[in-house]
Subunit: 505 residues, 2 copies
């Protein structure tokens, strides 16, 4: 058995059976072993950022790691932006990176680069294979490192000769350890807010959150949590909003802030004369559970011990489909999506400036999983949708994407077509890096003149996402009014398979 | 004057008047200063790898640096792959990276990341702005660092508040220093070969190289030199070939190897049982000029001192256009390109497996500049074409691109359309990562079975580059036989502006 095959079998023995890859020469023995290890599914991406983003989306839904396989330092480089997002999502990923063969390493060949240096930018654990014999054991250690709660990107760098040489035994990573339960705290509900993150925004956690609210505590969701189970029939705590002023208003009056698998809230960017820290200056911050502790267990213990009442919250009304002659706006589009989104859908959000009205409407949708921006690096939306669809083949995935942000990893569409993924991508076309209009003013810049405007205006030429999707085998249509959007979105929800709607705002 | 404006004016005062950018919030004050500094041309890329690759291509032709402006660590991450290639090309680039404002840095905001760590993977010089007052002076130091011969990627990290605060004086970088002249060497022509790189593959260098050959020395070109002036009417030394066996055959019998702005040749990858080092074991290697020394001066001194004869070499016959009923093959396509390529064209090559027959034919073309792969990271071809076209607006640029490699930075097409660049992109469509078929066998892997084959086969769905180009505003056509290719290529050579040909092999 080659080292490449041993590595593949170690992944499978440890419960990892999906690998998102864009391989090259150094990884050929890993690739060829796919023929002998039927349990492993290889998913090809035409660009590395698709692979790293898909692994992130996969973990957020499957709650177990996928592997990625990228080619040397420069191949890894193309995956880093979405690894950054995955790291901020605290997703578990086993990042495999091929390296030149050992005898080749001392030469300055064109593709030679410091893979460790590339890895360090996003990985908290980096290992290099020592030799072909121990590859299984080392891989098992890497997998175990990825599974440290809540999750890490663990990188394994494998010289080509370790893949092509005879290996030792297949490894097997131990089951993921349970997070430790933190010390209990007590706090009264008066002027006390909770910021919930991690596991507490899913399933049972939301039931406990609702009891917090019923007990008089104010409850907020971490804005950049990896996954928030949302929609009617669930308690939907407000997320901390994007801009510092409104976020500070949200938190005004709090004397105590309790963090559960979350950090104290800070704004996305810093602005002249504005504070980055969002909680009131006189607010005491306590950590109920740190990022790497069992927030769900801690929250349950607290809610039971305090004897908080059963949940009781105002349920938003179900969204009703607007009439087809209503004007197209973000509000009316939001209502269409909210009304037609099927139960159990998954929504990957990278709408950027178009987001707030759509998300407000989505509180009125049936239950769905919401996957927000985590690390803020653009190009996450579609790849995360790819990974989510592979994790949950029976659920509809909807990617809500800006036209600016949609151009960072458009190669995702090809993987959607190849794998026949049940993903609808909606592109919100405003022909601008619209968010920068707002940010420009907030940073105190003079506003755009003719020349600077060219750097945020993405007309000339207009992007045609229908052709773009067609170029990669994804069916697509254009919606220029609300009736068209209702028709196209409805069709996409009824039918299976990849589809794209270019929505002209 | 804001720090952003001061930075822009320092670039202009130092002779840098093009900036390839994909900006975000942290860079808004630099962007807004474009309105007040008319000498600076901002070129927008929809993906960061377009910007870094374009800066590389720009330098290779203009022989002066461009700037890039990218957004925080994760934005820089998307540019790293082509920065890797630019570093191997030894291109001069001033890489500007916006950072969170100083007061925001201590918080773990979503986009917070270790920008220095990202930069270190490709930059030999990294500076952080100290404050708004000194931004001009610091920027001038960064520019000077980029211009160290032969060239460096010098990174300047600028916190947003340094851009929005009041600055000190505009800086001005000193003129680029001349490379030092190495000590003269003497060597007889018997069994002596030269490997030429850097400046010696351009202009006067090739004339001197021809005299070397006339004097009985064997002369080779560095395979991964940044730019080789090529075509009829010039001495065209053979490049070291890709695979180690044939490369060793090329160098067989040499007892002495002299390096001029080049390194001793090594293979691209290492293979089981094959040497990576390509020169014969008993061959003495001498350095006439190191990478950072004046190879042109050293070569001239040598040629004159040795009294080498005037150049005299066999000129290949001019390529003749094949008849339209000839079968379409890489050979016939190569002849078409060689026959129709106009004098002074620029060819950016990322054909990968389709390359050798085309390049053989191109020795019979009129004079052109050849821009090869330098760092081997895929996704270089089109961005380098963008930068070359901006450096040389009066010359035709032809990008020869694979269908696999064409999917890493396809966003280049949009910048070609926006800027009206005179670039023809030819996509060689073989619907496969074909090079991996060859590499698979060379690494001793068993060959592709049904499952592993899926990782190198890029059909299902077939990519449609005509639609892809159309989606970004670039006119395109498909050539399925030689007559069509002759017609489309001829039209593209006669007309100005961006165009794409999908060539079905």
């Amino acid at each position: 058995m080659t080292g490449g095959e041993c590595l593949l079998r170690t992944l499978v023995a440890s419960g990892i059976d999906v690998c998102f890859m864009n391989p090259g020469t150094s990884e050929m023995h890993f690739v060829s072993a796919l023929d002998r290890v039927p349990e492993m599914r290889g998913v090809l991406g035409l660009f590395e950022g698709v692979c790293s983003g898909a692994a992130d989306g996969y973990y957020r839904l499957a709650r177990k790691p996928a592997a990625t396989l990228l080619h040397l330092g420069p191949g890894l480089a193309n995956g880093l932006s979405n690894f950054h997002n995955a790291r901020k999502a605290r997703s578990q990923i086993v990042s495999l990176v091929g390296e030149h063969s050992t005898q080749h390493l001392r030469f300055d060949a064109p593709l030679s680069a410091d893979i460790d240096a590339f890895s360090r930018t996003v990985s908290d654990y980096i290992a290099r294979s020592d030799d072909a014999f121990s590859i299984g054991q080392r891989a098992a250690e890497v997998i175990a490192a990825a599974r440290q709660y809540p999750g890490r990107i663990a990188t394994f760098i494998i010289p080509a000769d370790h893949s092509w040489s005879e290996s030792g035994p297949v490894g097997r990573a131990p089951a993921a350890p349970k997070p430790s339960v933190p010390k209990a705290i007590s706090i009264a509900p008066e002027n006390t807010g909770f910021i919930l993150g991690g596991q507490t925004l899913m399933g049972k956690g939301l039931g406990l959150a609702a009891r917090l609210a019923a007990g008089g505590y104010r409850v907020f969701a971490d804005r950049n949590a990896a996954r928030v189970e949302s929609g009617r029939g669930r308690f939907q705590p407000p997320r901390i909003v994007y801009f510092p002023g409104p976020a500070q208003a949200q938190l005004a009056g709090l004397k105590n802030l309790v963090l559960v698998e979350a950090k104290a809230p800070v704004s996305f960017f810093g602005y002249p004369g504005e504070a980055s820290y969002l909680a009131p200056a006189d607010c005491q911050v306590q950590t109920m559970a740190a990022i790497d502790e069992d927030g769900l267990g801690a929250l349950e213990e607290f809610v039971e011990r305090m004897g908080l009442p059963a949940s009781c919250y105002a349920e938003p009304e179900a969204a009703e489909l607007p009439l087809t002659d209503v004007a197209l706006s973000l509000d009316s589009v939001g209502l269409v999506i909210a009304a037609l989104l099927p139960e159990g859908a998954i929504v990957s959000d990278e709408m950027v400036s178009s987001g707030p009205p759509i998300l407000a409407a989505l509180t009125r949708a049936k239950r769905f999983d919401y996957l927000p921006v985590t690390g803020g690096s653009i190009g996450q939306g579609m790849p995360v949708g790819v990974g989510a669809a592979i994790a949950c083949p029976d659920r509809k995935v909807v990617v809500l994407e800006g036209d600016g942000s949609g151009m960072y990893t458009p190669q995702s569409l090809w993987t959607m077509a190849r794998e026949g993924l049940d993903v609808l991508t909606v592109i919100f076309v405003n022909r601008r890096y619209r968010i920068l209009d707002i940010e420009m003013k907030r940073t105190g810049a003079a506003g755009f003149g003719a020349k600077s405007n060219e750097m945020v205006d993405i007309t000339r030429p207009d992007l045609d996402f229908v052709q773009l999707a067609g170029s990669m085998g994804v069916r697509a249509s254009r919606a220029c009014d609300l009736a068209q959007f209702i028709a196209h979105f409805g069709t996409a929800m009824r039918e299976k398979g990849p589809f794209l709607i270019e929505l002209q705002l």
